[in-house]
């Protein structure tokens, strides 16, 4: 193990992969999501009415935190072109005679068009526009009732017989940093841990090298393998720790659960990720093919964690594939213990799964190693 630490400074490529690369990833990912909540999506207004009311609605739209009115379009096709070219993310159409029709009680339509191909931005636009128009219309309804002689407070109450008190569970600030970053960092680290470990192992166990020399030095195949893996476990845990300091300190993500459970999960997660790499290498005995194998397992892992599209809504096959990947359980554990303050007995399941995955991977590596040892022993 000490040998591995001594070797590290002499192998700049390896040191770069296990230290510099993860740190750069940390900085870039942290930088992308620093803003936390996307605001100020560009929208166009198609104001065919040009009345006091339509101007009031436009002001309300611009005042919504989600939106900024950047363009005025004269008709629908112009608005559509603005949306397609990416100049704006949505458009609000106020028809001719809007104000007159409203006072006559003809209930005209106010239409919000939004770009749902870019769904994350599009749904923000829809929400912002809905709230802004609601506010504008509520003001109108309020003034009608007050005009009929109702007291302001009474009129206010009458507007909404069943108000909805909305609560955002576990994430009251509705901040994306909390869950996206908490999942992206482990995803990227899983890729790097697996690939770098495979690379480190390839330097000593690869064809043309003499693993037996190393084995004699370390006193057996198991200590030799552990000596290759554990030093990097320490390094990756330090990096994970650093990212946690950044998340919980700098970006102020709340930590509501058990730190010990998360720490135990982190150790199992890093070990399991590394063993994916080690197993890929001892199976293929070729870094190129090992890298492809690692890529297939770890690169698409983010989707299977269910942060965008929830796991519960996936097919059984996708759920099973996700369950076999250590990152899925570690990210679930992190979110449970940092944001959701999940009771320990529920969260312990994630740790258990991580332990099972780590155990199975270790058994597979040992089985393959002893097979290789027998092959080498036989002439």
């Amino acid at each position: 193990m000490a040998r591995e630490f001594r070797l590290l400074p002499r192998r700049p490529a390896l040191a770069g992969l296990v230290i510099v690369l993860p740190l750069i990833m940390l900085l870039v990912l942290g930088g992308i999501f620093r803003a936390g909540i996307p605001t100020g999506m560009a929208v166009a207004v198609i104001d065919l009415d040009r009345s006091d009311l339509s101007r009031a609605v436009t002001r309300m739209l611009d005042a919504a935190p989600e939106l900024t009115v950047t363009h005025r379009a004269s008709d629908l096709s112009e608005a559509r072109s603005l949306i397609v070219s990416g100049a704006v993310r949505g458009a609000v159409l106020m028809p001719q005679n809007l104000e007159r029709d409203i006072t006559r009680g003809a209930r005209p339509e106010i239409v919000t068009f939004y770009d749902n191909q870019h769904m994350s931005a599009g749904s923000l636009v829809a929400r912002g526009a809905r709230n802004a128009i609601d506010t504008a219309l509520a003001g109108l309804r309020l003034s009608v009732r007050q005009g009929q002689g109702e007291a302001p407070v009474q009129a206010m109450v009458a507007l909404q017989p069943i108000p909805m008190q909305a609560h955002a569970l576990f994430n009251p600030a509705f901040d994306y940093v909390h869950f996206l970053l908490a999942a992206l960092i482990p995803t990227v680290l899983q890729i790097i841990a697996a690939a770098a470990t495979a690379y480190a192992v390839s330097l000593d166990f690869g064809p043309g090298r003499h693993p037996r020399v190393l084995m004699r030095m370390a006193g057996g195949i198991l200590p030799a393998m552990l000596g290759k893996i554990l030093p990097y476990t320490v390094i990756f845990l330090l990096i994970l720790g650093l990212s946690d300091v950044a998340l919980y300190g700098w970006l102020a993500v709340p930590l509501r659960g058990s730190l010990w459970l998360v720490a135990l999960g982190a150790v199992l997660f890093v070990l399991a990720s590394q063993m994916i790499g080690a197993l890929a290498f001892v199976l293929t005995r070729d870094m190129g093919r090992a890298a492809s194998m690692i890529a297939l397992i770890t690169a698409p892992a983010f989707g299977f964690m269910g942060l965008g599209f929830p796991r519960e809504a996936m097919s059984t096959l996708a759920q099973a594939w996700g369950a076999a990947i250590p990152g899925t359980w570690y990210v679930q554990l992190r979110i449970d213990q940092s944001l959701r303050a999940t009771p320990l007995d529920i969260s312990a399941m994630s740790v258990l799964w991580l332990a099972v995955i780590a155990g199975v991977l270790a058994a597979l590596i040992l089985a393959q190693l002893s097979r290789l040892a027998r092959q080498e022993a036989a002439p």
Binding site: G86, Q117, P163, G208, M287
Partner: protein
């Protein structure tokens, strides 16, 4: 000119002849196309489970519950006597929201008071939160409007006027493109562009680390190589951007002409960038790991899933140097939104500027070190190709 032809043939052989490079390029296509879309096949979130805590137990509360349950977005799958039990179900991920109808709900309505209902939605899953809020808000608003109108009519307001007073204008929301809000339709077209870029760069960078010295002026050698990339990926690009989307049932609005016009500078820029990555990291193993790790950051830097408005300006400027940033934006607009070439002209110019810029840098690098020796680190990989096959 013969240098150009030599470089063209050598690059073709390097990509198609090398087992490892061929595996990355072709196997990746097949497997990524199968594994990546797997989580998103279900497309839509319907009937998200929600717990009902009905402390009123009245006709009105049952009516409200029935209306919410009938919405497409949510289903009231569990009933719990109190919030503690309901929260436990959410912790277990058996439900993603709680609707609490407090005691006295019906009484307050009959008296003509405000009668609030509380909705707790799991905000650690953005999509679930949205669906739960959506599923409950619409029926609540509708029931509220009916009650308000009812009260007005009771006060003697004519029916038509009462409706107009309750909702003076009709709010219509029209999603343009991806009208069903399908998750696969949203994420896959962009993901395919990124996968194409990453696997292409991986293959070409690997080939570059193994390249021996070739005769001729660097300009001809580079042009020859670029020709080889186009020859290979002109076939693969439509597979990623037309065939795969069709197989997954995604809508395609754009024509193949605009697609190829955008694809040409995209492929060239990615190829040049791959040369730089190879020159920077030298070893094939390292190149692969680095490109593998960069996939996720590249995706989020592109401003597709995470709106570009929320990316800090300096990072966004850096992101413009990555071909996928402009290519994802442009290709998604062409294939999914039916954008015409004039509408995406800035993106097209952006990509061509990248081609010119990156091309010049590659040329400068290759002129400075004209005959870089074949990568020194073939050691652990090359001889092993035989036994396992």
């Amino acid at each position: 000119m013969s240098a150009l032809a030599t470089a063209f043939r050598a690059e073709l052989a390097a990509v198609l002849g090398d087992k490892q490079v061929r595996m990355i390029v072709l196997l990746a296509l097949i497997l990524y196309a199968v594994i990546y879309p797997l989580p998103y096949r279900a497309e839509l979130l319907r009937d998200v489970p929600v717990v009902l805590v009905d402390q009123d137990g009245s006709t009105a509360s049952a009516d409200l519950a029935r209306r919410v349950d009938a919405s497409e977005a949510v289903a009231l799958t569990h009933h719990a006597p109190d919030m503690a039990e309901a929260t436990r179900l959410v912790h277990e991920r058996r439900a993603y929201g709680v609707m609490l109808i407090p005691d006295g709900f019906e009484r307050a309505l009959l008296r003509g008071d405000q009668s609030p209902v509380a909705l707790y939605a799991d905000a650690s899953y953005f999509l679930m939160y949205q669906r739960v809020m959506q599923g409950a808000a619409v029926p609540l608003r509708q029931m509220g409007a009916e009650i308000e109108a009812g009260r007005l009519i009771a006060q003697g307001t004519p029916r038509a006027l009462a409706t107009a007073q309750v909702s003076p204008a009709v709010q219509v929301e029209v999603p343009l493109f991806n009208p069903a809000a399908g998750y696969a339709t949203y994420v896959l077209p962009a993901a395919f562009v990124l996968i194409l870029q990453q696997t292409m760069m991986m293959g070409l960078a690997l080939a570059a680390t193994r390249r021996g010295p070739l005769p001729g002026h660097p300009v001809w050698r580079l042009l020859g190589r670029a020709g080889a990339w186009l020859a290979i990926w002109a076939g693969l690009l439509p597979v990623y951007l037309i065939v795969l989307p069709v197989l997954y049932g995604l809508p395609i609005l754009g024509g193949p002409g605009a697609l190829m016009m955008l694809g040409l500078p995209f492929l060239l820029a990615a190829g040049f960038l791959a040369q730089l990555v190879a020159a920077l990291f030298r070893r094939g193993e390292v190149v692969q790991v680095v490109l593998l790790a960069l996939g996720m950051p590249f995706f989020f830097l592109s401003g597709f899933a995470w709106p570009v408005e929320a990316i800090p300006a300096h990072l966004n400027a850096l992101a413009q140097l990555i071909p996928s940033t402009a290519a994802i934006d442009g290709l998604v607009r062409v294939t999914q939104m039916g954008a015409t070439l004039p509408e995406i002209a800035p993106i097209l110019w952006h990509l061509w500027a990248l081609v010119a810029g990156l091309g010049l840098v590659v040329l400068a690098v290759e002129t400075v070190s004209p005959s870089r020796p074949a990568a020194p680190d073939r050691g652990p990989t090359a001889p092993s190709d035989s036994p396992a096959r």
